[in-house]
Amino acid sequence: MATLREWISRLVATLRPRRGERELEQELRAHLELAAEAAEQRGQSPDDARRAAAHDAGGVVQAMEALREQRGVPWLEDLARDLRYGYRMLARNPGFTAVAVVSLAIGVGANCAAFSFADTLLLRPLTVPRPAELLTIGQVNPFEDSLDSSYRDFADIRDRSRSFAGLTAFAKSTAGFAPSAEAPAKLAIGLLVAGNFFDVVGVEPQLGRDFRPEENQAPSRDAVVILGHEFWTQQFGADPAILGRTVRLNGADFTVVGVTPARFTGVDQFVRFQFYAPLMMWPRFTPDDGARPFEARDYRRLTVMGRLRRGVTRAQAQAELATIAADLERAHPDTNRNGRLLVRTELQNRIAQAPPVATLAAMLMGLAGAVLFVACANVAGLLASRAPMRAREVAMRLAIGAGRRRVVRQLITESMLIAFAGALLGLGVGYAAVRLFSQIQIPVDLPIAPTFSLDRRVLLFSIAVALVSAVLFGLAPALRAGRTDLTAVMKASDAAGFGRRRPWGRRVLVGGQVAIAVVLLVVATFTYRGFQQQLTGGPGFRTDRLLMMSVAPKQLRYSEAQAQQFFERLAEAARLTPGVTSATVTRYMPMDGIPPSITIVPEGFEFPPGQDSVVIASSVVDEHYFETIDLPILRGRAFQPTDSADAQRVAIVNQVVAERYWRSQDPIGKRFRLDGARGPWVIVVGVARTSKYTFAIENPKPFVYLPFRQQPADSMFLLAESSGDPLLLAAPLRELVRGLDANLPIANVRTMEEQYRLRSLVVLDVIVTTIGAMGAMGLALAVVGLYGLVAYAASRRTKEIGIRMAIGADRASVLRMVLGQGLLLIAAGLGAGLVASMGAGPLLDSIFARGMAGDRGTTLFAFGLVASTVLLVALAAAYIPARRASMINPTEALRSE
């Protein structure tokens, strides 16, 4: 029985293998000498004594082997030996090694990149302990597809549910933050959280304390705040004396009671929250009537999150919530009709809120997988080319007594070496991709950003990919080598017994490579052409000579009327500023995230059963909006100053709305009810051209504009058109806002051009570059594979070609023969690839927007382009070795045996 001590001793001996080897041998020799001495004493001749001793004691070599086994950890020593041997083999064949390693680097790199993309946007778990247990609960908000809840519903769910170890609620909120009463306010983003929030997410403040239970009991009473770690570090230099100090949020004093730990960034994959305040302070952060957030059951602005009790499944929780929802519906039919409660994991949330991102990530992963396959096929092909040579070596090793198991292990070790070298280099490729992705930044003044990085998760994933690929390309050849028929291989001059049946498999592999390259290129071409096509029309509004900035007077607790007046004066003053040719205020800025939504009931429209209203994206704008942003009113009129609070309520709809609800009628003069079936009537006075709203490439969206004088908004953008460089307006306009109210935080000061570029063009650029790079990599790898196969096939036929030439075949016919074989492969791969590419168009349509794939003509063009490119490049790859084969000197070819 081996004790721990024995193993430690063995391990030490393994790590320092040279020590003791000679000493052991010395000891054995001493044994033999002592034995001989004893025999001599018994009267034998010295020679006889020596022979007898050797006979009795056994061989030194065998004893040494047994000792070595006892001394170290044999498999570890074997591994070290295999690694050394494998390294020597790879170093001796630099061409092979380079092609194999680079191929794999590309394959692993592509996967590393795709995973990093998917991880950052979708997969990375929340920064809390056991994130998988956290579920979001609520009613589906049809507009954003998020799960929302009201405070009253939350309280009922919390009190009645048994499936969760804890249920908490929170609301995101921006606020004007100032470190002291004197300092100017800046925009900050935080979470208003129920009392048990930190408890449920499982995070304790690093400094100070959690909220006390009584601090979440009475509305607006306890003004305490916990700061986010990053914010604390940036804003206060990580000063621990921050505890007990007061800071200002939306103009009110809050006492700092704690700081979150550094690893916790809040419960969102992109936002690194700057502060956490008790949910009971909510009235401080919303312009809505103070009691409403806590009283109104249809005030659904909360996210409810629960930590599943151990042993309870998601399905059980869902079932329980269904009964709770049914009870709530019965008790509160007005507000909770059809109020199904759903549970979602974080991943489901993210996918639900951005299905195209999920599809795009899945597509990139798929493309990367395809690239990896092509890469692995290359390495497998290379290994197959070397198989005959290796077969003799393997046979030799088997013949001198190596175990088959050891030989297989040795070959697998070699594959692993290639894989890890490839992975290492692939991380370089991945890093380049991460740098590329990092160009995607959301232009905001808040810490909201997808953070792409080569973190531990990406590293682990890359290593796993490398391991899988090593198995893919290395296991089959290794096992086959392990079954090598000794005598056949040793006897055959060219190891013919080895790999005679192989070429078929290899041909299929290379054909597959070509096919995959075709698919990758078609996707890349479609994406590129689709983007081009979609972008030619522009966003539908002007992007040049515009400067924007946002202000939110709610952060200073302006009343509705005060805010209204403020924006009016702001726009007025802006128009008078030198250099400004036109200025407007708007609730929503195009390309700035999700627009606000309104619920409307168009008159005379027949809804499908179960639906009685529709949620539509909207903005609130003043009468100068359409001229400033250069968005034409196609019918009717723009807003006018006379569309005031006491006048008839009016709206301007875009073409999609007009087309959808008043098809082939004149939409002007038509009416809809705002905020549901009992809301006020609003008359459509104009139809605006449909533009892009949230992204440069999107399907036409319904959109409604409401006049600023009839629909108050708590935060708005000032948008000014300049006669020259719009950035020159930044300083005077800032000054203007400060003149109106020095405490108002100004945010998002940037030109429309930059907004459009950052929010849309950069993203498209990154996507096109990524997909294009994958296409190029796929083609390059496939070409290498094809070249390798043709060259190999030709070299195997050297003798045959020699004979053919000797009996009269000319070079051209040899060239044709060798090339013909390659051509067949190319044609088969091309055909298969084009057929498989049929799905690319619909896929891209679903990710980006209808019409990405274009019509028949553009599809055919793209197919033709890809097909001719692949054909040309592949022919060149096959031609080079074919030509070399045709240059064979027949006499030499025949003599070479």
Binding site: M1, T3, R5, E6, S9, R10, L24, Q26, E27, L28, A30, H31, E33, L34, A35, E37, A38, D56, A57, G58, G59, V60, Q62, A63, E65, A66, L67, E69, Q70, R71
Partner: protein
């Protein structure tokens, strides 16, 4: 893998026996080199037990790795360099408990075999 387990337990018994023999030899004769141990065992067994080096030295190494004996280079009476093995305190304890165990086993076996007879 039942077969392998069986094989291993068999060698374990043999190894255990060899261990006990070596420890007892060292306890009786004091510090000894490998050949002397082998010679002693051969003599005691009247030639029935001939250990080759491939069995003896790995056994000695294992005992040394487990800290039961200690090996040091020394010089024999005939001025030859050899590695001498000495029982350690742990070895002495091990010998005691192993011997007790062995005696218990043999008693049981003897009783059992006699009954059978």
């Amino acid at each position: 893998m039942p077969n392998r387990d069986k094989a291993r337990s068999k060698t374990d018994v043999l190894q255990g026996t060899l261990d006990l023999m070596v420890l007892q030899t060292l306890a009786t004769l004091g510090s000894q080199h490998g050949y002397a141990i082998a010679a002693r065992l051969e003599q005691v067994s009247a030639g029935a037990l001939r250990l080759n080096m491939g069995t003896l030295y790995p056994g000695l190494m294992r005992l040394e790795q487990r800290g039961l004996i200690r090996g040091d280079w020394g010089v024999t009476d005939t001025s030859r360099k050899a590695r001498f093995y000495t029982l350690t305190a742990a070895g002495r304890r091990e010998l005691k408990s192993e011997r007790a165990e062995w005696e218990r086993m043999t008693t049981i076996m003897r009783t059992l075999l006699q009954e059978e007879a």
